[in-house]
Amino acid sequence: MTGGVNSFQVSGYGPERAGWTRVLARDSLARRLDWPILLSALALSLLGSLLVWSATRNRTELNQGDPYYFLVRHWLNTGIGLALMVGALWLGHRALRTAVPLLYGASVFLILLVLTPLGSTINGAHSWIKLPGGFSLQPSEFVKITIILGMAMLLAARVDAGDKPYPDHRTVLQALGLAVVPMLIVMLMPDLGSVMVMVVIVLGVLLASGASNRWVFGLLGAGAAGAITVWQVGILDEYQINRFAAFANPELDPAGVGYNTNQARIAIGSGGLTGSGLFHGSQTTGQFVPEQQTDFVFTVAGEELGFVGGALIIGLLGIILWRACRIARDTTDLYGTIVAAGIVAWFAFQTFENIGMTLGIMPVTGLPLPFVSYGGSSMFATWLAVGLLQSIRIQRPMSA
């Protein structure tokens, strides 16, 4: 049996089943959900809330005098994220395929809006839209999903229809064109980190689509050339160049451009095996690491929970990525495969870049750690992605 477009409703509402029987039935939704992903994402979100709390409870200039301010908001974000996941699951990734033009138009509109005076700048990146009530939206997070869905739709259409074994050049070109437009806009913000994630997503999507090797290597080459161009042309702001300089030479100016990396590494390094205990990290309570509740949240885990805590986070993200890879491989339609693979590329790169920069093996860019970092847009987007993954999974053949 293969899942249909409406299998969610079909399997969820068998009239003859009731109560636990229904929940535990072989084809029930609960049985078919990917629990490791769900539980890992939940665990990460809760762990993240504690780390965010620890990093912010003393930062009165941020938390408006309320030590629980960020804790509560992180929970709230997680709750909304969960709801979005359920929504995505309910709609199903295939239904979303039809909504791609709408989603695409909306997200391009939003990122264009960022470039207008409505957008606001945080940490040198002009990538936020301020909302009433102290909230702000980072549309580039949603663009990531849009690109995945849009490219998957184009690339899988003819393959899934059985016309072709692999997407042809024209389709690939169309898909790339679809991705490049928002990427260019995001680059103008400039939100280089997000662009990098998108490049990796495009790469992952192309790989999974079965597009010719020429495209894959061509894109890799284009990416390298693009990076060099960006460097040479001087689109980068000084702070971005400094970040790379500080990465290339960690001893450089530890009080200035190298400060973040240096303090982050001290925080993590001082954690040892088990850490200093939650709320007891001197680097964290002393607020030596900037942006610690968002981009540098991993340093809280490193310092206060030690190697055990840090490895747990990497492990939980590993479970999600591993399971997502399985989902990509197990699903029967190319559309689902591409979407899952795009999400894998997205999560994997963001995880590697975020944790890597706190460990000093990647340059500093403003990318959140999925589920753990404080930040609504990122949380919503990642939970939406979890919803997509679940949707792909429950619609695969049970025999697989």
């Binding site: 293969t2 899942g3 249909g4 003393n58 899988a156 393959v159 899934d160 229809a161 059985g162 074994p165 692999y166 992952g204 790989l207 999974a208 689509s209 079965g210 303090q263 590494r265 001290i266 925080a267 993590i268 390094g269 001082s270 954690g271 040892g272 095996l273 001197s282 680097q283 309570t285 002393g286 607020q287 030596f288 490193g302 310092e303 030690g306 190697f307 840090g310 490895a311 990497i314 993200l317 590993g318 990525l321 591993w322 890879c325 990509a328 491989r329 029967t332 339609d333 190319l334 559309y335 495969t337 693979a341 894998v344 994997a348 995880t351 590697f352 944790i355 890597g356 460990l359 000093g360």
Partner: protein, 758 residues
Amino acid sequence: MTNIPETGRSPRVQIRLVVIQVLVVSLLGTLGGRLWYLQIREGDQYAKEASGNHVQQVVQPAVRGSILDARGVALADNETRLVVSASRTELLKMRDDGKAVLTKLAGVLGMSAKEVGEKVRLCDAKTPQPCWNGSPYQPIPITDEATPKQALQIRERAEDFPGITAEPQAVRRYAAPGKANTAQVLGYLSPVTDEEIQKAQDTDSPYLRSDMVGRSGLERQYDKQLRGKAGVTRYEVDKLGRVLGQAEADPAEPGANLVTSIDARVQRIAEYELNEAMKEARKQHDRNTNRTYEADSGAVVVMEAKTGRVVAMASNPTYDPNAWVGGISAKDYAALTGKESNYPLLNRAIQGQSAPGSIFKVIPTAAAINAGYSFEGPYNCSSSYSIGSQVFKNFESQNHGPISLGRALEVSCDTVFYALSHEEWKRDGGNKPKKNPDDWFYKTSHQFGLGEETGIDLPNEVTGRVPDRQWKLDYWKANKDVWCKTGKKDGSYAERIAYENCLEGNRLRAGDSVNYSIGQGDTLVTPIQMATVYAAIANGGTLYDPTVGKAVISPDGRTVTEIEPKPHGKLPMTKQTLSQIDEALEGVATRGTAAWRFGGWPQDEIPMHAKTGTAEVYGKQTTSWFATYTEDYSIVMTISQGGTGSGASGPAVRNIYNALYGVSEDGEIDNKKALLPTPQKTLPKVRTDGTIKAPKVSKDPAKDRVEPSPDAGATTPQDDPADPQQPGTVPSPENTNRDTRRRERRRGGRSGTRRTAS
């Protein structure tokens, strides 16, 4: 049920998905490995860095130990003063870098805004003193002389003076008991520099940011003992400096007290007498230059003959060491170090070197005996001694006929020593020296400890110079290029000298050996060297390392570490020679060149020995030297451009002896008036509460004595037949005393003889 074919997982896609999965796993593996590396392998190091990050130290400075005189009178101690300090970090937070606050503060303190600004600026290569060379994070003292009213103004209007504090603090005080200022011996303090902190980081006495460090004198030499250990309280703080954690405190340990062998009263008298002697010399007319004597600087050392301990050491010009306390002002600094200052910071007793003139003669005497000449001689004390066309004259062309070496010392006969030294020079091969010349006259000098430091416990002692063959060669190598360039055969005196030096300056010439034999030429000694030598003659031949420090006593008085006298050599002569020289030097005081200064001295009770010296310096007036000793003390005084040995320094030295032994002008000994008839043996007592048992010192010991008349010596009748120059007939000290030096005037031109000085 579905129209979607199962084509999603073509082999190509399948392989690529596996590649992605492997990639993902390896990325995560990399993160895990790096995490392990940072936290487990390198964890300790980062933990250390983290603790350095968030721990702030608050330092309670240790109270510096006192420097005491031999009886316990404080020469340097501490007093509580109201110190107004500025925190640079606070000031720099203000929009105008705190200029407004500093100007306001200057108004309250009655200083100029510029003055205050100079105090808080940081020293660097381009910034001259005054500036702050301590840590920029430490509050910088602006004044330590704030009145309680000023302090109150600042503290009550704290909001008007952000970053400014007014706190009572212990600051160094150089009390000058009985007006004994002892400046150069005590030295001074200034804030520790970054370099010093770095250097001392891993030693057993690291510096703290707030430390004051001894820069010269005893303060420097005994810095480690005096400094103590500052107390440190460690607070855990956050990035903004807010205190988080609890304190961990090491209490401050006060520094130990240094007991010196200085006697404040004798020190005062030595300083006073030196100054008076110089003032007096400036009134005297110098026949050679046809103006009064400059007497630009001088020094006197009073030493315990049997131990080498320094009872008094004065250097003139001098200064007030309190000028350094609380940061020195621009004006004071210029006055102490400027070109016009005549460098009062120099301790001329150990850092001033000049030709010794005739007080050197004990050394060629010993050298002659060692070279095999007899003490008795006789040797012809002719009026002049000729080598080729060069004529070396005796002082005032005196002719004493055949005399012994002892008599030659008494009358300070130059020609006897010229002949002996020249003879030895010839024996060593003359202008074609032997392979291993005996060089008795030079060897003996080295054995007397000249040409090297005496090892006194004061920093930056200079070595003086023995102008032997090796030195000549080295000096020639260093200077021949200049000499050969500037030298002219028929030029001016200086040019002719340069010409000659260029040709043969590498060799020891006959004239060199002749000049050297009477402590002239290139010979240089320091007063402390000569005091050590004469103390050794007094004590039977042991050369001691001179010491000022006598003991280090812990602040509670419980631990006493005595600094024992340490000999560094023996005089190179037999007991017999020593006693013969001793006798001759007594003769100098009773019937020789110094006799007119010791008229009425109770010679039977306190045998006095002396040697006078008047050294010529090219282009300057003569240097006065006077070396003396009794059984217990050796006193050496010198005055640069001061005139003759006994003339300029004689009365001062006599007055110091008078005070030591309580001798009145008419020769009566009054033990009650004697300040220190025998050296101080016992150490002062430091009580367990840190207070010190010390006798009172009168306001000015120099004024307690019966004022000696300035020309006391001249009024004393003399009946020494050996000294035809009776002071009674010629009252001016310049011509009354003899013993001199002569720097050989160059032949060249037609001048076959030399004019002699004095």
